[in-house]
């Protein structure tokens, strides 16, 4: 299974990651099936260290679901950035992961957007599987 992310959407995620650096950014991915048609930027509401953590508030989550439902699309997943860390899911990501969602991770190194990867939680919650990203 792949995840379809067009170049303009990737670019929007990169710009968000760059603007939020050195903090983590986050946002929702809305679309149909495996095709993302919109990346919605959301505030990082973590009260821990925002350089290493992100949190989407319950209110923002409900907003994302509503945006999707109102336009007859679905919430496909979320994206977030890893400032100066590889674009690989952390233990922290695993502990907080939801099934079904695609998790897109952008690495931002020294303020510059770097690699972008996508992941899905395994059904038994044991790990993530990489999802090939296509344009």
């Amino acid at each position: 299974m792949t995840l379809e992310l067009s170049e303009p959407i990737r670019e929007a995620i990169r710009r968000h990651g760059q603007a939020a650096y050195p903090h983590e950014c986050c946002g929702a991915l809305i679309g149909r099936g495996a095709r993302v048609t919109e990346a919605v930027t959301l505030p990082n509401t973590t009260d821990e260290e925002p350089r290493r953590r992100f949190l989407v508030s319950a209110a923002d989550y409900r907003l994302a679901e509503r945006l999707a439902a109102e336009s007859d699309r679905e919430l496909v997943g979320f994206y977030h950035s890893h400032p100066d860390h590889p674009a690989r899911p952390s233990q922290h990501d695993l502990a907080h992961a939801w099934p079904f969602f695609a998790y897109v991770i952008l690495s931002v190194r020294r303020g510059e957007p770097a690699e972008l990867t996508a992941w899905r939680l395994r059904d038994d919650r044991s790990t993530f599987d990489a999802v090939p990203v296509v344009a």
Partner: protein, 483 residues
């Protein structure tokens, strides 16, 4: 009595693909219990193994979070709508170990690694293990150069490199991953270019940072093997302790002048660096390569031994250098081997470890700023500008150079007299009657010791030249060669 439950997108596949369900329950807890007994697959996503609602599962009754009501005891009225709202969170940190599958080799890779593939000890299996392997190299300097280049050439899939330094002319005599055009560039950039040129199949992960107790565990976590190419004791103990705490092999190497050492520490049941050296040497006793020098090819030999050991550990062949401490003497061209055992009393890897987390290694090695504040008052100093002004004014300043003769041959400040620091106590008589003594060395450390010694011997007006001859070259006479 039944209430509407709104199911969030990620949980719908576990709830019959429905977004709204009708579920019975007098309280939120009862309703969720009924829900998860009806849809058993929901349970592991809503509850921990201990049966508590997961911290990132928010439950709302109408528009109120149950945390602000009576939590799971919150009573439900007919017509209440219950929403399960995921809080989406995460962040950078120790990465999740991916299940290792043997990555297939492309035709280009088969051709590239053919001299490995035809040896039964490596073969396709071994080469695929190399491709799946993740090795972290600490330092892109003398040892890091051959380690990174050979591991890249051998086909190690992911190579991490930690360094924050810039390539300097004085590195080129031994750090062969960098070239003359790289002087002034970040070592990581230069090393990355070289590795990509050798083998573009290698994924290089660069960490431009100083390794510290705060970041070591996180940096090491995603790697299988750590190769220590550091040049100082605090980092060496830090690497060792972090490897023991994480259970990752530490492929150790060190070099000084004509002598090198290598071993593999911190494997299961094997000894660690602290089993050999429980305590660091007093600061200043063992000079660094910058102070004592090093033969340029020496890191080439020791680094390739480290690369060999890393490859053997990955493939799982041969006898690794575990429990053996290899000492190489380039002048006599001899290898010696010391037997090492894990010390049951070792503070880190012993049976009753006392070090269970990373500590302050600068302090442990006695080089912490805190340790220095309790030292005797700092010596009187002067600057190179002041020295130049005194020379120009034609006063009777006596400039004493306490470096070694071979350093004196490289460059000198005019009007200086050479008495190496080691000879100074026995040659004090040569200074009889001198006044206004200014003492210098390369950077100001050895001359500070000399000033202290001179003042104790009665030369009460002796002062130290701040920054030594390096400052003189930078700020007064840039025509002199720097070393």
């Amino acid at each position: 009595m039944s209430n509407k439950v709104l199911i969030p997108t990620p949980l719908r596949p576990y709830a019959g693909k429905q977004d709204v369900l009708e579920v019975d329950g007098k309280t939120v807890g009862e309703l969720l219990a009924n829900l998860t007994s009806q849809y058993a697959d929901l349970r592991k996503h809503l509850y921990t193994e201990e049966g508590r609602l997961r911290g990132f599962v928010n439950v709302y009754v109408n528009d109120d979070d149950i945390r602000y009501l009576d939590r799971e005891q919150t009573l439900l009225k007919p017509g209440d709508t219950i929403s399960i709202v995921p809080s989406v969170a995460g962040g950078a940190g120790p990465v999740v170990a991916e299940p290792r599958t043997a990555p297939p080799l492309s035709n280009e890779e088969v051709q590239r690694y053919s001299r490995h593939l035809i040896m039964p000890e490596v073969g396709m299996d071994g080469q695929q293990k190399l491709k799946a392997a993740r090795v972290l190299c600490i330092g892109a300097g003398g040892l890091g150069s051959p380690v990174a280049m050979y591991l890249a050439a051998a086909g190690v899939g992911t190579l991490g490199m930690i360094d924050f330094d810039v390539v300097d002319f004085s590195n080129l005599q031994r750090q062969i991953i960098h070239g003359t055009p790289d002087v002034g560039r970040l070592k990581l950039q230069s090393a990355n270019d070289r590795i990509q040129a050798i083998n573009p199949n290698v994924q290089v992960e660069c960490y431009e940072t100083a390794l510290s107790s705060q970041n070591a565990l996180e940096l090491f976590e995603p790697y299988d093997i750590i190769v220590d190419g550091t040049d100082n004791f605090p980092t060496r103990y830090l690497v060792n302790d972090a490897c023991v705490l994480l259970g990752k092999p530490n492929v150790y190497g060190s070099i000084f002048r004509f002598e090198g050492q290598a071993s593999v520490f911190a494997t299961k049941d094997g000894p660690c660096y602290r089993c050999l050296y429980p305590e660091p040497p007093p600061p200043g006793l063992v000079p660094s390569c910058a102070e004592g020098g090093v033969l340029g090819v020496l890191p080439g030999i020791v680094g390739t031994i480290q690369a060999t050991e890393a490859i053997k550990l990955i493939i799982g062949v041969g006898e690794p250098l575990i429990g053996r401490f290899l000492i190489f003497d380039a002048l006599r061209m001899r290898f010696r081997e010391l037997r090492l055992r894990r010390d049951p009393e070792c503070p880190v890897c012993g049976d009753r470890p006392t070090v269970r987390e990373l500590i302050n290694y600068e302090q442990f090695c006695g080089v912490a700023p805190e340790a220095q504040t309790s030292a005797p008052a700092t010596v009187e100093e002067t600057t190179v500008e002041e020295l130049k002004r005194r020379f120009d004014a034609g006063d009777d300043t006596f400039l004493l150079d306490v470096r070694e003769p071979q350093e004196y041959q490289i460059c000198t400040i005019p009007r200086s007299t050479l008495i190496p620091l080691g000879d100074l106590p026995s040659r004090l008589s040569e200074l009889e009657g001198r006044r206004n003594i200014v003492v210098h060395c390369k950077s100001g450390v050895r001359s500070a010791k000399a000033v202290k010694l001179l003042r104790e011997a009665g030369f009460v007006d002796a002062v130290n030249l701040q920054g030594g001859i390096l400052d003189w070259i930078d700020r007064i006479d840039p025509s002199l060669p720097k070393y």
